[in-house]
Symmetry: C2
Subunit: 202 residues, 2 copies
Amino acid sequence: MSQPPTDIEALIALMARLPGLGPRSARRAVLHLIRKRGQVMLPLATAMAEVARSVQECGRCGNLSSTPLCPICTDPRREGAEICVVEDIADLWAMERGGSFRGRYHVLGGTLSALDAVGPEDLRIPALVGRINDEGVSEVILALNATVDGQTTAHYIQDALALTGVRISALAQGVPMGGELDFLDDGTISAALKARKIIPGA
Amino acid sequence: MSQPPTDIEALIALMARLPGLGPRSARRAVLHLIRKRGQVMLPLATAMAEVARSVQECGRCGNLSSTPLCPICTDPRREGAEICVVEDIADLWAMERGGSFRGRYHVLGGTLSALDAVGPEDLRIPALVGRINDEGVSEVILALNATVDGQTTAHYIQDALALTGVRISALAQGVPMGGELDFLDDGTISAALKARKIIPGA
Protein backbone atom coordinates (compact mmCIF):
# COMPACT_ATOMS: atom_id res chain seq x y z
CA MET A 1 0.00 0.00 0.00
CA SER A 2 1.28 3.45 -0.85
CA GLN A 3 -0.25 5.30 2.12
CA PRO A 4 0.86 7.26 4.10
CA PRO A 5 3.56 8.76 1.81
CA THR A 6 7.11 7.50 2.52
CA ASP A 7 8.41 10.65 4.22
CA ILE A 8 5.38 10.83 6.52
CA GLU A 9 5.73 7.09 7.17
CA ALA A 10 9.36 7.66 8.19
CA LEU A 11 8.34 10.50 10.49
CA ILE A 12 5.67 8.31 12.11
CA ALA A 13 8.23 5.52 12.64
CA LEU A 14 10.60 7.97 14.38
CA MET A 15 7.82 9.42 16.53
CA ALA A 16 6.73 5.91 17.55
CA ARG A 17 10.17 5.41 19.15
CA LEU A 18 9.41 8.04 21.79
CA PRO A 19 8.46 6.67 25.21
CA GLY A 20 4.70 6.85 25.72
CA LEU A 21 3.87 6.84 22.00
CA GLY A 22 2.96 3.70 20.04
CA PRO A 23 2.38 3.41 16.28
CA ARG A 24 -1.22 4.53 16.65
CA SER A 25 -0.62 7.59 18.79
CA ALA A 26 2.42 8.46 16.65
CA ARG A 27 0.08 8.57 13.60
CA ARG A 28 -2.32 10.83 15.48
CA ALA A 29 0.52 13.08 16.62
CA VAL A 30 1.94 13.38 13.10
CA LEU A 31 -1.48 14.22 11.60
CA HIS A 32 -1.91 16.84 14.31
CA LEU A 33 1.53 18.26 13.45
CA ILE A 34 0.69 18.40 9.75
CA ARG A 35 -2.55 20.20 10.50
CA LYS A 36 -0.61 22.74 12.58
CA ARG A 37 2.40 23.01 10.30
CA GLY A 38 3.15 26.65 10.97
CA GLN A 39 2.30 26.96 14.67
CA VAL A 40 3.68 23.65 15.98
CA MET A 41 5.53 21.49 13.45
CA LEU A 42 8.16 23.93 12.19
CA PRO A 43 8.87 25.44 15.64
CA LEU A 44 9.15 21.91 17.07
CA ALA A 45 11.58 20.82 14.34
CA THR A 46 13.67 23.94 14.91
CA ALA A 47 13.65 23.63 18.71
CA MET A 48 14.63 19.97 18.44
CA ALA A 49 17.54 20.61 16.07
CA GLU A 50 18.65 23.53 18.25
CA VAL A 51 18.64 21.49 21.48
CA ALA A 52 20.36 18.54 19.78
CA ARG A 53 23.09 20.91 18.63
CA SER A 54 23.60 22.87 21.85
CA VAL A 55 22.91 20.54 24.75
CA GLN A 56 25.80 18.99 26.68
CA GLU A 57 26.51 17.56 30.12
CA CYS A 58 27.77 19.92 32.80
CA GLY A 59 31.39 18.89 33.34
CA ARG A 60 30.98 19.11 37.10
CA CYS A 61 27.53 17.84 38.10
CA GLY A 62 26.19 16.04 35.00
CA ASN A 63 23.18 18.35 34.61
CA LEU A 64 22.10 19.29 31.06
CA SER A 65 23.45 22.61 29.91
CA SER A 66 24.27 24.64 26.85
CA THR A 67 27.55 25.71 28.47
CA PRO A 68 30.48 23.60 29.77
CA LEU A 69 29.33 24.26 33.36
CA CYS A 70 25.57 24.38 34.06
CA PRO A 71 23.74 27.47 35.43
CA ILE A 72 23.40 25.83 38.88
CA CYS A 73 27.12 25.12 39.18
CA THR A 74 28.02 28.67 38.15
CA ASP A 75 25.31 30.41 40.23
CA PRO A 76 27.13 32.08 43.16
CA ARG A 77 23.89 32.16 45.18
CA ARG A 78 23.76 28.35 45.32
CA GLU A 79 25.30 26.83 48.45
CA GLY A 80 28.47 25.01 47.34
CA ALA A 81 28.84 23.15 50.65
CA GLU A 82 25.73 21.01 50.03
CA ILE A 83 25.58 18.45 47.23
CA CYS A 84 22.36 16.62 46.45
CA VAL A 85 22.98 13.27 44.71
CA VAL A 86 20.23 12.24 42.24
CA GLU A 87 19.88 9.33 39.85
CA ASP A 88 19.08 11.27 36.70
CA ILE A 89 18.21 14.64 35.20
CA ALA A 90 14.47 14.12 35.66
CA ASP A 91 15.07 13.77 39.42
CA LEU A 92 17.14 16.96 39.41
CA TRP A 93 14.25 18.78 37.71
CA ALA A 94 11.83 17.32 40.27
CA MET A 95 14.02 18.61 43.14
CA GLU A 96 14.17 22.04 41.50
CA ARG A 97 10.37 22.09 41.14
CA GLY A 98 10.25 21.43 44.88
CA GLY A 99 12.06 24.73 45.08
CA SER A 100 13.54 24.45 48.58
CA PHE A 101 17.01 23.06 47.88
CA ARG A 102 19.61 25.81 47.55
CA GLY A 103 22.76 23.71 47.13
CA ARG A 104 24.26 22.03 44.08
CA TYR A 105 23.75 18.63 42.45
CA HIS A 106 25.54 15.51 41.38
CA VAL A 107 23.74 13.46 38.73
CA LEU A 108 24.76 9.80 38.81
CA GLY A 109 23.14 8.86 35.51
CA GLY A 110 21.54 5.67 36.84
CA THR A 111 21.91 3.15 39.62
CA LEU A 112 24.41 0.36 40.26
CA SER A 113 23.31 -2.82 38.57
CA ALA A 114 25.21 -6.09 38.37
CA LEU A 115 22.68 -7.32 35.80
CA ASP A 116 23.22 -4.40 33.41
CA ALA A 117 26.96 -4.23 34.27
CA VAL A 118 26.68 -0.70 35.64
CA GLY A 119 29.65 -0.10 37.96
CA PRO A 120 30.72 2.88 40.12
CA GLU A 121 32.76 4.46 37.28
CA ASP A 122 29.69 4.49 35.01
CA LEU A 123 27.83 6.43 37.71
CA ARG A 124 30.37 9.19 38.24
CA ILE A 125 30.89 8.10 41.86
CA PRO A 126 34.69 8.68 41.73
CA ALA A 127 33.91 12.19 40.44
CA LEU A 128 31.63 12.70 43.47
CA VAL A 129 34.42 11.67 45.85
CA GLY A 130 36.73 14.12 44.05
CA ARG A 131 34.22 16.96 44.47
CA ILE A 132 33.96 16.40 48.26
CA ASN A 133 37.67 17.13 48.57
CA ASP A 134 37.94 19.87 45.95
CA GLU A 135 34.88 21.95 46.75
CA GLY A 136 34.87 21.97 50.54
CA VAL A 137 31.57 20.11 50.73
CA SER A 138 30.15 19.68 54.24
CA GLU A 139 26.98 17.64 53.51
CA VAL A 140 25.94 15.14 50.86
CA ILE A 141 22.17 14.62 50.58
CA LEU A 142 21.24 11.31 48.98
CA ALA A 143 18.01 11.85 47.02
CA LEU A 144 17.90 8.45 45.35
CA ASN A 145 14.67 6.66 44.54
CA ALA A 146 13.21 4.48 47.28
CA THR A 147 13.74 1.37 45.14
CA VAL A 148 16.03 -1.59 45.75
CA ASP A 149 18.53 -0.33 43.14
CA GLY A 150 18.38 3.21 44.46
CA GLN A 151 18.99 2.11 48.04
CA THR A 152 21.81 -0.28 47.04
CA THR A 153 23.49 2.62 45.27
CA ALA A 154 22.95 4.86 48.33
CA HIS A 155 24.71 2.30 50.52
CA TYR A 156 27.59 2.04 48.09
CA ILE A 157 28.00 5.83 48.08
CA GLN A 158 27.96 5.92 51.90
CA ASP A 159 30.87 3.45 51.91
CA ALA A 160 32.74 5.32 49.18
CA LEU A 161 32.45 8.60 51.12
CA ALA A 162 33.29 7.14 54.55
CA LEU A 163 36.95 8.22 54.44
CA THR A 164 36.15 11.81 53.46
CA GLY A 165 34.37 12.40 56.78
CA VAL A 166 31.61 14.41 55.03
CA ARG A 167 28.16 14.43 56.65
CA ILE A 168 25.73 12.22 54.69
CA SER A 169 21.94 12.50 54.85
CA ALA A 170 18.99 11.06 52.94
CA LEU A 171 15.50 12.34 52.10
CA ALA A 172 13.02 11.53 54.85
CA GLN A 173 10.61 8.68 54.26
CA GLY A 174 6.99 8.98 55.31
CA VAL A 175 3.43 9.69 54.25
CA PRO A 176 3.39 11.85 51.07
CA MET A 177 1.34 15.08 50.98
CA GLY A 178 -2.29 14.21 50.39
CA GLY A 179 -1.49 10.55 50.98
CA GLU A 180 -4.25 8.36 52.40
CA LEU A 181 -3.11 5.63 54.76
CA ASP A 182 -5.50 3.13 53.25
CA PHE A 183 -3.77 3.47 49.88
CA LEU A 184 -0.17 3.41 51.12
CA ASP A 185 1.99 0.29 51.08
CA ASP A 186 2.99 -1.31 54.39
CA GLY A 187 6.65 -0.31 54.02
CA THR A 188 5.78 3.40 53.87
CA ILE A 189 3.52 3.15 56.92
CA SER A 190 6.23 1.33 58.92
CA ALA A 191 8.84 3.90 57.89
CA ALA A 192 6.53 6.79 58.79
CA LEU A 193 5.78 5.23 62.18
CA LYS A 194 9.46 4.62 62.93
CA ALA A 195 10.32 8.21 61.98
CA ARG A 196 7.33 9.70 63.85
CA LYS A 197 7.77 13.16 65.32
CA ILE A 198 6.80 14.33 68.77
CA ILE A 199 4.37 17.24 68.49
CA PRO A 200 5.76 19.84 70.84
CA GLY A 201 3.44 20.95 73.65
CA ALA A 202 0.89 18.21 73.01
CA MET B 1 13.98 28.02 39.19
CA SER B 2 16.45 27.80 36.37
CA GLN B 3 15.85 24.14 35.47
CA PRO B 4 15.39 22.72 32.87
CA PRO B 5 17.34 25.18 30.65
CA THR B 6 15.15 27.56 28.66
CA ASP B 7 15.62 25.94 25.26
CA ILE B 8 14.82 22.49 26.66
CA GLU B 9 11.85 24.00 28.53
CA ALA B 10 10.59 25.44 25.22
CA LEU B 11 10.99 22.06 23.53
CA ILE B 12 9.07 20.34 26.34
CA ALA B 13 6.27 22.90 26.04
CA LEU B 14 5.99 22.25 22.28
CA MET B 15 6.05 18.46 22.75
CA ALA B 16 3.34 18.73 25.42
CA ARG B 17 1.01 20.16 22.75
CA LEU B 18 0.98 16.86 20.87
CA PRO B 19 -2.14 14.75 21.38
CA GLY B 20 -1.47 11.94 23.84
CA LEU B 21 1.44 13.71 25.58
CA GLY B 22 1.05 15.76 28.75
CA PRO B 23 3.72 17.85 30.51
CA ARG B 24 5.08 14.80 32.34
CA SER B 25 5.35 12.48 29.34
CA ALA B 26 6.71 15.37 27.25
CA ARG B 27 9.54 15.72 29.78
CA ARG B 28 10.24 11.99 29.57
CA ALA B 29 10.18 12.09 25.76
CA VAL B 30 12.57 15.05 25.62
CA LEU B 31 15.02 13.41 28.04
CA HIS B 32 14.86 10.28 25.90
CA LEU B 33 15.54 12.37 22.79
CA ILE B 34 18.51 14.08 24.42
CA ARG B 35 19.94 10.71 25.44
CA LYS B 36 19.59 9.53 21.82
CA ARG B 37 20.67 12.74 20.18
CA GLY B 38 22.32 11.16 17.16
CA GLN B 39 20.06 8.18 16.47
CA VAL B 40 16.65 9.75 17.13
CA MET B 41 16.62 13.47 17.87
CA LEU B 42 18.45 14.84 14.83
CA PRO B 43 16.75 12.47 12.34
CA LEU B 44 13.39 13.37 13.88
CA ALA B 45 14.06 17.11 13.61
CA THR B 46 15.13 16.69 10.00
CA ALA B 47 12.17 14.47 9.06
CA MET B 48 9.79 16.92 10.69
CA ALA B 49 11.20 19.95 8.91
CA GLU B 50 11.21 18.00 5.63
CA VAL B 51 7.56 16.93 5.92
CA ALA B 52 6.48 20.42 7.03
CA ARG B 53 8.16 21.79 3.92
CA SER B 54 6.95 19.25 1.38
CA VAL B 55 3.51 18.09 2.46
CA GLN B 56 0.41 19.48 0.76
CA GLU B 57 -3.19 18.51 0.14
CA CYS B 58 -3.97 16.59 -3.04
CA GLY B 59 -5.92 19.05 -5.17
CA ARG B 60 -8.42 16.38 -6.13
CA CYS B 61 -9.10 14.13 -3.13
CA GLY B 62 -7.64 15.99 -0.14
CA ASN B 63 -5.14 13.24 0.71
CA LEU B 64 -1.70 14.27 1.95
CA SER B 65 0.92 14.34 -0.75
CA SER B 66 4.25 15.82 -1.71
CA THR B 67 2.93 16.46 -5.22
CA PRO B 68 -0.10 18.51 -6.41
CA LEU B 69 -2.01 15.25 -7.06
CA CYS B 70 -1.51 12.37 -4.63
CA PRO B 71 -0.11 8.93 -5.62
CA ILE B 72 -3.57 7.35 -5.37
CA CYS B 73 -5.20 9.89 -7.71
CA THR B 74 -2.40 9.47 -10.27
CA ASP B 75 -2.12 5.66 -10.01
CA PRO B 76 -3.68 4.28 -13.26
CA ARG B 77 -4.32 0.91 -11.57
CA ARG B 78 -6.78 2.50 -9.11
CA GLU B 79 -10.42 2.28 -10.18
CA GLY B 80 -11.55 5.82 -11.01
CA ALA B 81 -15.24 4.87 -11.09
CA GLU B 82 -15.37 4.23 -7.32
CA ILE B 83 -14.91 7.00 -4.79
CA CYS B 84 -14.71 6.24 -1.09
CA VAL B 85 -15.70 9.22 1.08
CA VAL B 86 -13.86 9.43 4.44
CA GLU B 87 -13.87 12.01 7.21
CA ASP B 88 -10.14 12.52 7.50
CA ILE B 89 -6.69 11.36 6.46
CA ALA B 90 -6.42 8.90 9.35
CA ASP B 91 -9.55 7.14 8.02
CA LEU B 92 -8.03 7.01 4.52
CA TRP B 93 -4.91 5.37 5.98
CA ALA B 94 -7.11 2.91 7.90
CA MET B 95 -8.94 1.97 4.65
CA GLU B 96 -5.59 1.52 2.88
CA ARG B 97 -4.34 -0.71 5.70
CA GLY B 98 -7.46 -2.80 5.13
CA GLY B 99 -6.00 -3.25 1.68
CA SER B 100 -9.09 -4.32 -0.24
CA PHE B 101 -10.35 -1.03 -1.70
CA ARG B 102 -9.01 -0.40 -5.19
CA GLY B 103 -10.80 2.85 -6.02
CA ARG B 104 -10.01 6.44 -5.13
CA TYR B 105 -10.85 8.66 -2.17
CA HIS B 106 -12.49 11.90 -1.21
CA VAL B 107 -11.39 13.30 2.16
CA LEU B 108 -14.02 15.57 3.73
CA GLY B 109 -11.78 16.97 6.44
CA GLY B 110 -14.39 16.58 9.18
CA THR B 111 -18.12 16.27 9.69
CA LEU B 112 -20.96 18.76 9.44
CA SER B 113 -21.47 20.52 12.74
CA ALA B 114 -23.86 23.37 13.49
CA LEU B 115 -22.13 23.89 16.84
CA ASP B 116 -18.66 24.37 15.33
CA ALA B 117 -20.11 26.17 12.26
CA VAL B 118 -18.82 23.53 9.84
CA GLY B 119 -20.86 23.74 6.63
CA PRO B 120 -20.85 21.76 3.36
CA GLU B 121 -18.28 24.07 1.73
CA ASP B 122 -15.82 23.50 4.59
CA LEU B 123 -16.10 19.77 3.94
CA ARG B 124 -15.38 19.82 0.21
CA ILE B 125 -18.85 18.44 -0.53
CA PRO B 126 -19.33 20.70 -3.60
CA ALA B 127 -15.97 19.38 -4.87
CA LEU B 128 -17.30 15.84 -4.43
CA VAL B 129 -20.40 16.64 -6.52
CA GLY B 130 -18.12 18.11 -9.17
CA ARG B 131 -16.00 14.95 -9.27
CA ILE B 132 -19.05 12.73 -9.84
CA ASN B 133 -19.76 14.58 -13.07
CA ASP B 134 -16.16 15.12 -14.21
CA GLU B 135 -14.66 11.71 -13.55
CA GLY B 136 -17.41 9.33 -14.68
CA VAL B 137 -17.92 7.97 -11.18
CA SER B 138 -20.40 5.10 -10.91
CA GLU B 139 -20.39 4.43 -7.15
CA VAL B 140 -19.77 6.52 -4.04
CA ILE B 141 -18.96 4.50 -0.92
CA LEU B 142 -19.66 6.38 2.30
CA ALA B 143 -17.06 5.26 4.87
CA LEU B 144 -17.96 7.75 7.58
CA ASN B 145 -17.68 6.99 11.27
CA ALA B 146 -20.71 5.35 12.88
CA THR B 147 -21.23 8.41 15.07
CA VAL B 148 -24.14 10.87 15.12
CA ASP B 149 -22.05 13.52 13.30
CA GLY B 150 -20.73 11.00 10.78
CA GLN B 151 -24.21 9.71 9.97
CA THR B 152 -25.69 13.22 9.72
CA THR B 153 -22.97 14.06 7.22
CA ALA B 154 -23.66 10.83 5.31
CA HIS B 155 -27.35 11.77 4.97
CA TYR B 156 -26.44 15.25 3.78
CA ILE B 157 -24.14 13.79 1.11
CA GLN B 158 -26.86 11.37 -0.03
CA ASP B 159 -29.17 14.38 -0.58
CA ALA B 160 -26.45 16.40 -2.30
CA LEU B 161 -25.72 13.54 -4.73
CA ALA B 162 -29.37 12.66 -5.42
CA LEU B 163 -29.52 14.59 -8.70
CA THR B 164 -26.35 13.03 -10.11
CA GLY B 165 -27.94 9.57 -10.15
CA VAL B 166 -24.70 7.96 -8.91
CA ARG B 167 -24.99 4.75 -6.90
CA ILE B 168 -24.38 5.36 -3.18
CA SER B 169 -23.37 2.69 -0.67
CA ALA B 170 -22.15 2.61 2.92
CA LEU B 171 -19.86 0.32 4.90
CA ALA B 172 -21.77 -2.61 6.40
CA GLN B 173 -22.55 -2.47 10.09
CA GLY B 174 -22.24 -5.57 12.25
CA VAL B 175 -20.10 -7.54 14.66
CA PRO B 176 -16.39 -6.63 14.29
CA MET B 177 -13.79 -9.37 13.75
CA GLY B 178 -12.97 -10.94 17.11
CA GLY B 179 -15.93 -9.11 18.65
CA GLU B 180 -17.65 -10.75 21.61
CA LEU B 181 -21.41 -10.19 21.81
CA ASP B 182 -21.25 -9.64 25.55
CA PHE B 183 -18.98 -6.61 25.05
CA LEU B 184 -20.86 -5.06 22.11
CA ASP B 185 -23.31 -2.21 22.53
CA ASP B 186 -27.00 -2.84 21.88
CA GLY B 187 -27.02 -0.73 18.70
CA THR B 188 -24.39 -2.90 17.04
CA ILE B 189 -26.21 -6.09 17.95
CA SER B 190 -29.52 -4.73 16.56
CA ALA B 191 -27.79 -3.59 13.36
CA ALA B 192 -26.07 -6.96 12.94
CA LEU B 193 -29.35 -8.80 13.50
CA LYS B 194 -31.22 -6.61 11.01
CA ALA B 195 -28.47 -7.13 8.41
CA ARG B 196 -28.17 -10.88 9.09
CA LYS B 197 -27.21 -13.11 6.16
CA ILE B 198 -28.81 -16.38 5.13
CA ILE B 199 -26.15 -19.11 5.15
CA PRO B 200 -26.66 -20.88 1.81
CA GLY B 201 -27.50 -24.61 2.03
CA ALA B 202 -28.12 -24.50 5.78
